[in-house]
């Protein structure tokens, strides 16, 4: 299976073409974007700053995708996660899964997001207000 992982400080291009090899074989493409909301822990924010332990996060994402895809008919997974400052309304994560049939794509997508939020060393390091100033942690 083709697995692509990227941690990037740049905005995620959401309309990237899929590999040509999928044409005619992939019957389902499931896509997820996690968007930064204007409220975090009940407070108004302008952005979130993400931090990653990249040396561990990238291979772990790849390993999770391999585990979840084992025995299924997924053909392609792309995971892109932002690091650094991500403004409200921007995507912090973009996941694309292609498979022959939809059930495998949906299962890998939801399974991956669950594992990401349990095990992958990426953090919302701090919230920033609309002027870009750090917001003190809630008491």
């Amino acid at each position: 299976m083709d697995i692509r992982v990227e941690l990037t400080p740049h905005p995620i291009p959401l309309a990237r073409p899929l590999p040509k090899e999928l044409t005619g074989t992939a019957g389902a493409i499931a896509e997820f974007q996690g968007i930064v909301r204007a409220q975090e822990a009940g407070r108004e924010i302008g952005a979130l700053e993400y931090e990653a332990y990249s040396a561990m996060a990238e291979p772990m994402i790849r390993r999770i995708c391999q585990e979840l895809a084992a025995g299924g008919d997924c053909q392609f997974v792309s995971v892109t996660h932002r690091i650094g400052v991500v403004s409200v309304g921007e995507a912090a994560i973009h996941v694309v899964v292609a498979s022959r049939h939809r059930a495998a794509a949906f299962a890998l997508l939801t399974g991956f997001m669950d594992r990401l939020k349990q095990d992958v060393p990426i953090w919302k390091a701090r919230a920033l207000d609309t002027a870009g100033r750090p917001i003190a942690p809630a008491p």
């Binding site: 996690g34 332990y53 912090a92 997001m113 990426i122």
Partner: protein, 78 residues
Amino acid sequence: MRILFFAHLKDITGCAQTDLAADNIDTPELWRRLIATYPGLAPQQSQVRLARNCDFATADTHFYSGDEVALIPPVSGG
């Protein structure tokens, strides 16, 4: 061994990384030495996982002088 701190643990320790002179120590001993240097880590211990050379440590893991050890607080990606 090199010790890495992430997220709010950087605020607690005041640094992103430090070097610890130790070899072949187990998890309780590593925590004992870390807390001796950074007492603010003590309340975090129950929620923080350790990683040795980019793999989560287990109860049996030992840590060696050339290792990269990361303290992994609860993650929040996505």
